[in-house]
């Protein structure tokens, strides 16, 4: 099986699906001849031409607005937003339009648009190339939200997203775009949306995480292991719909929870996980729910390493929670 990084896996999924389904088109800033600033759409323009791989003017509202119109007409657009930080000019189109089209038309007009966008910190990009906006979308009924952490899932989840009938926000962890490498089957396969994965089994406490933070948590687990702790790590993969069963089962087993994400803590996705657990598994809890998250400040530049939850910080939280 070929070894790929996440960018290559995304690229592979796009190529595969565009060959399989003539309705799939790609649009965005610099996605054409140039292949995207992260090269995720590289080679598509050459293979599929300008009618299916479209360089757009610099306007995210136009990219998503046009993608909605295309989807209504029957295409399967997969727009790229160059950085998640630049998705906000399209926020109205996403939150008021894309998310509500099927519902508000009484089911007449589905709008299956898959928005791909790199998110998160760790590339020294300051606050405009580092944000993690997942909570904004999870809180918006009508959107599915997917965050892979590795090439295998990236390809399989993206294929599921494009073949699904719903709008999807597909957040790509740019910090590990190239660093996360792994075997990826060459042909067709899918990873279903809505299924979490236990990436490390453990008995003592549950770590809930997703995206680039999965790697941070795995590193933290190594430290914790060395210190005699045995955390279970659940990688959510899909934030909405959430695989609540897998989460709750793990929590009921361990009775202790650490939640880790990069986004600011207050009202982040971790809040929802904590609330769910406090609602459904309270009696299993033996320790306070511990959130390790970005601080409630804009994303900084120089102090990025202090801002981002590090393996040390996660390991400290594991220790604190396990020994509570």
């Amino acid at each position: 099986m070929p070894v790929m990084n996440i960018i290559q896996a995304v690229n592979d999924a796009l190529k595969l699906e565009m060959r399989r389904d003539a309705r799939v088109v790609v649009l965005g800033e610099d996605v054409g001849k140039f292949g995207g600033v992260f090269r995720a759409t590289s080679g598509l323009f050459e293979e599929f031409g300008k009618d299916r791989v479209m360089d757009t003017p610099l306007a995210e509202a136009g990219i998503i607005g046009a993608a909605i119109g295309m989807a209504l007409y029957g295409l399967r657009p997969v727009p790229e937003i160059q950085f998640a930080d630049f998705i906000y000019p399209a926020y109205d189109q996403i939150v008021n339009e894309l998310a509500k089209f099927r519902y508000r038309s009484g089911g007449q007009y589905p709008a299956p648009v898959v928005i791909r966008t790199p998110y998160g910190g760790g590339i020294r990009g300051g606050h405009y190339h580092s944000q993690s906006p997942e909570a904004y979308f999870v809180h918006t009924p009508g959107l599915k939200v997917v965050v892979p952490s590795n090439p295998y899932d990236a390809k399989g989840l993206l294929l599921s997203a494009i073949r699904g009938e719903d709008p999807v926000i597909f957040l790509e962890p740019k910090r590990v775009y190239r660093a996360a490498r792994g075997e990826v089957p060459e042909g067709d396969y899918t990873v279903p949306l809505g299924e979490a994965k236990i990436v490390r089994s453990g008995s003592q406490l549950t770590v809930l995480t997703y995206g680039a933070m999965t790697h941070t948590c795995l590193e933290a687990a190594k430290q914790s292991e060395a210190a005699g702790f045995d955390p279970e790590i659940v990688e959510l993969r899909t934030l909405l719909p959430l695989d609540a069963e897998t989460v709750l089962q793990s929590v009921r087993k361990t009775g202790r929870v650490v939640i880790a994400h990069e986004a600011p803590k207050t009202c982040g996705y971790g809040a929802e996980l904590a609330a769910l657990i406090a609602e459904r598994a309270l009696l299993s809890l033996e320790a306070p729910i511990n959130r390790v998250a970005g601080f409630d400040t804009p994303f900084p530049y120089t102090l990025e390493n202090e801002y981002l939850p590090s393996p040390d910080r996660v390991a400290a939280a594991i220790k604190q929670t396990a020994t509570f």
């Binding site: 909605i68 119109g69 295309m70 209504l72 189109q93 099927r102 519902y103 007449q108 009508g142 609540a244």
Partner: protein, 377 residues
Amino acid sequence: MHAMLAKGQEPRSEEAPFSILDDDGNVRGGVQAPEVSDEKAIALYRGLLQVRLVDDRMMKLQRQGRLGFYMLSMGEEATHFGGAYPLRASDWIFPSYREPGAFFWRGYSIKDYTNQLFGNAEDPVKGRQMPVHHSAKWINMVSISSPVGTQIPQAVGMAWAAKISKKEDVALVYFGEGATSTGQFHVGMNFAGVYQAPVVFFCRNNGWAISTSGDRQTASSSFAIKALAYGMPGIRVDGNDLLAIIAVMEDAVERARKGLGPTLIEAVTYRRGGHSSSDDPSQYRDPAEVVRWEAHDPIERWRRYLEQRKLWSEALHEKFTKEITDELMVALKHAETVGAPPVESLFDDVFAELPPHLLEQRAELLAMPRAKSGHGS
């Protein structure tokens, strides 16, 4: 081509908008009028009349507290039909909330219309949206949205998709002059220019956006001139002159279908009523302005034109009025008796299939005692 300006030629607001019929329904000298068959000309009259009669009734119902909310289009009816008439059935329309006639022209029934207003179990949108937010996929009428301007880039996307798919379909998108101030207008127009998408931008310049007059929206000399910023032709047309609108629309649709790209049409008309049933325009504008515009009523002008063509009679008018009124009465009676959509439908269509959390929430709601839900008022 009847009236199209050459690309780059500059329309000016001081110039009178393109017009074919004068207020008395005479074809002005020197202009070439589009051909509209007797049958179609009469059907258009019936359509115009239907919008006026339906609006009138609904505003009354709203005042009586039988209907929650309404938006009427008195005085702007010609724009509904002038836009829709030159299109094929396979073309798509992205309407705003003030073009019910475009729905009717394509066969949306008074019954559909009324069920939507009452948000009942037979409402095509399942009681999900406010009154006047219709959606009718079976006639390629796209779901109306409240946020102003959002439909503009969507229409461009649809048109562009048609082009990519090697179909001949054209998009028509309606919006008010207020919408030209939104970012959405700009990005939509700009994309259309760049991709030469087969789309017609139809700006109903009715002079007002709630309490804000057109000259507060922009300092440009007209709305049509904005087309130049996107490398497309823009044209001003008398929005109360159905024949003139048909003419400029025929040109624009022909250009779009031929692959010659988009067009902006500014139809100059007037919002004679309030913005909506919640609005009282006497608070912010001179009633004399309304009176002045009554003299340019688009329906009366079309009537006189038909008279000139010997197609109109009092009897025909009475017949139409009675047919429409009867249909309306039956529809209203029906709409008011049909109940609300089933409670469980609240959770449908958020996604193609109900995910676990919505299944749970549905079960939770169904287990509760039923809340009071007054549909239609």
